[in-house]
Subunit: 458 residues, 2 copies
């Protein structure tokens, strides 16, 4: 049991706040730790603070929660800094999406092959990149030697950027890979008996191993596809209400057939525009919600967010409502808190992490963040070496995605207009250079984008 | 305080179950009453039963809840029968909607001018009509003199049908009219100070009086439209996540400008196809969700349903969770239980009800159900007489809607194919008679529609 200082930046995050607190409170190996919850939004900060304190006293568990709007105070001498901050709020990006759509860019200029995820803000994420880099630099300066756990998206871009630009131990984390458990369950296997290896980039990971007690499950997957998929899809088309219910969608199976390995988690949300041209296309591949990244699915996500937020508020504030019954009895599947514990207590264990490649996957430069299973302990991250994916995946999926990442990082680091235009000249939605010029003019003219416009001038 | 027997048919209804129970438990004037919860779905029945018993014992309130799948047992000698049953479940209608869309009928052949509401099943509601009529006949036979409170939709059609075909005291109820309170609130008035009169048909009601302490609020509404609407809509377009947030939408204001009175509640969901051609049109008039009756808004509703259902299950079953904190401290605004109390205790009060016109609104036949405020007591429903709406509303809105109702009732009562075809020959989405023939062929060929197909043969 080791007491540490943990700073959570963007602690009001709706996607993360309650889970981080819940998991901590169910982790005896970190008992007595100091947790600094930091956010610029005081209302959200108060809410997560009230939630954390009420929940910890309900469970009788000793964690010390501090609330602050001062980032430096939170980070100073921390052992772990968790970044879940998203600049601007979801509405800011929805506004850019709407402008894009007026110019013929369905789902926004930010969406590209293998990154259709609606809050994975790359080319239009100027402020988000700046914020993440500032946080990393604060860690370098005020908490040298600390671990930065990057949960805020885009994990692929930001982990690569930070590891190149800042001297800090950074690990990017994403829970998407856990979807292999649902696939195992549908095939009739207990998730806890299944071993899976998934590698690639964040949101572009492919199932390289899939066994249960030594038995290869791929043949069973093939059989399921041949004999059971049609009936499964028939029912699923009538009942899909959760847009994230796409792990065995026609899109997933089609990707498997085209590329030779099964795509896992958010990978299924990607693909080329062939899966995404418009709502009807999305519905064909991702079910009646169109998947999470359609105008239906994303609205469901945002509405659920809003509902969840008011629900947390009631749990946090109404003394008549106990919190525990609303959460699982033990820690969730998220790896964030276990990783902190593995490092703090030097208990090596294997986690799905995003770290610079350093030889882990063949054919990927060493300074590009890959997502792989790796052993994490006080000594750091021990990567496997020489993992391989089929040539089609490497050249036709990972490289195009890597290209977008490199273009985004260059745009952010060097500025200037040309790269924005070229970004769209590689996009099949673009019908003329004029269209590309005009959509960027409109986005950069949006109130709030003044600094970004300056950065991309000339 | 009077003890009565209340039967709730379709008691597992997600839209109604928890509210009916909550309101009863907060109504001392009916204490000691016997409540028969009836549903054909045992899982749902058990859930609402567990919810009702847990909640009543938590509040220490004496109501007797009986669970049954036997409709006759529930209805026999009841004083009040509440019908919230919907045949087939939402998925059944979604399947017909999908088939319709394949043939060019966006949102389904059931949608027409002034009835775009996605679960207001008229022309394709054959089984729903049959069920409602069967229930009414059971009331006539096993509980003569009882009151039938028709909550299941389509309230307009079913109230008219039942009052024509069955000897029973029927009142149709809909909470849509309560939306006037939200409008008052946005204008800055306390809803409890405001008097509103809304008349027409269910889901097609128009604000004929709107005052606060004697002051006419229409001029303030005009001023709001002129000076504040634009700014309100700008913000609303960025933040609308609830598809029902349309009471002061551009659609509502446009209807007011065209027809001269403000449309209230579900009325705003109606209008001609001018507001509904496609998703983009709906989004222009009803905000980014497209309103409740778009592919976005309706999926939000269904997903929320599903979520609410699992939430009720947890509340009902987890002994660690108290129920009361999740509900308001007193009765909701729904009029169902107050009406029962007014009749049972002979305490006259005015409610918004759906009853045969009988002279209440000028220009409407007496045997057509109108929605009006009326005094309800043990002596029955005392309608106001000679209410009027502007000619444009009567001729261009209410009559077309009444025509659809009469066509539906004739189709249901007489059968045969011609009326189904004519239904679509009056629809601007129809481009050829072939299209109308084909879509009905496809709908009637759907598994589960065998009896309906037989009814509409020839
Ligand atoms: N890694 C994963 O598995 C995963 C899963 C879900 C979401 N996410 C990512 O998590 C992030 C948060 O998502 P969300 O939906 O919770 O968003 P959110 O808007 O609810 O939360 C973001 C929080 O960051 C705060 N914030 C904004 N600017 C800040 C600043 N300068 N300093 C400190 N805090 C600041 C906001 O006030 C807000 O409380 C997003 O980037 C999202 O893509 C990651
Ligand atoms: N009047 C209003 O203000 C208002 C508001 C919302 C919904 N509604 C209407 O209420 C109805 C129910 O809506 P919902 O969303 O709760 O639907 P639902 O499907 O959740 O509930 C309907 C219930 O009826 C039951 N049922 C089906 N066939 C039955 C039968 N033969 N006998 C007994 N029970 C049967 C089902 O098992 C189910 O529990 C719909 O018609 C809907 O349009 C009316």
């Amino acid at each position: 049991m080791t007491k540490v200082k943990i700073a959570v930046i963007g602690a009001g995050s709706i996607a993360w706040s309650s889970t981080v607190v819940h998991d901590l409170l169910h982790t005896p190996t970190l008992l007595g730790s100091e947790v600094y919850l930091m956010d610029i939004d005081e209302t959200r900060l108060k809410r997560v603070g009230a939630f954390a304190r009420k929940y910890s006293s309900e469970l009788g568990v000793d964690y010390k929660f501090h609330l602050t709007t001062n980032r430096k105070e939170a980070i100073k001498d921390a052992d772990f800094v968790v970044n879940t901050a998203m600049y601007g709020g979801h509405g800011y990006y929805e506004a850019m999406r709407e402008i894009s759509e007026k110019h013929g860019y369905y789902r926004g200029v930010n969406s590209t092959e293998w990154n259709m995820v609606s809050d994975y803000h790359t080319i239009w994420g100027y402020y988000q990149f700046k914020l993440a880099l500032d946080i990393a630099r604060d860690v370098e300066q005020y908490a040298p030697g600390a671990w930065l756990l990057q949960l805020a998206n885009p994990v692929f871009e930001l982990t690569t950027l930070i590891s190149r630009e800042v001297k800090v131990n950074v690990i990017g984390l994403c829970h998407g890979h856990l979807a292999y458990k649902e696939i195992a369950g549908i095939l009739g296997f207990k998730p806890e008996d299944v071993e899976a290896e998934m590698i690639g980039f964040n949101h572009v990971i492919w199932l390289t191993k899939f066994t249960s007690k030594g038995r290869n499950l791929y043949p069973l997957l093939d059989e399921w596809i041949e004999k059971k998929a049609q009936e499964y899809w028939r029912k699923w088309r009538l009942s899909q209400r959760n847009p994230f219910d796409i792990h065995l969608s026609p899109a997933a199976v089609d990707m498997y057939k085209r590329y030779g390995l099964f795509p896992i988690g958010d990978t299924v949300r990607g693909g080329t525009w062939a899966y995404h041209w418009d709502l009807k296309t999305k519905q064909y591949w991702f079910g009646p919600t169109g998947g999470p990244d359609s105008e239906i699915g994303w609205m469901l996500y945002l509405a659920h967010h809003e509902w969840y937020s008011s629900y947390l508020e009631r749990l946090a504030e109404d003394p008549r409502m106990p919190i525990a019954p609303f959460f699982p009895a033990s820690r969730t599947d998220e790896s964030l808190i276990p990783i902190i514990s593995s490092i703090a207590n030097d208990e090596p264990a294997t986690y799905q992490v995003n770290v610079p490649n350093d030889g882990a996957i063949d054919g990927i430069p060493n300074d590009v963040a890959v997502e792989i299973p790796a052993e994490v302990s006080a000594k750091g991250v021990r990567r496997p070496q020489g993992l391989r994916v089929p040539g089609k995946i490497l050249k036709s999926v990972l490289w195009p995605r890597m290209l977008r990442m490199e273009m985004t990082l260059t745009a952010f680091l060097e500025g200037g207009r040309q790269i924005l235009i070229d970004w769209l000249m590689l996009d099949p939605r673009t019908k003329s250079e004029k269209q590309a010029e005009e959509v960027w003019d409109a986005i950069l003219a949006m109130p709030g984008n003044e600094e970004m416009a300056k950065h991309y001038r000339g």
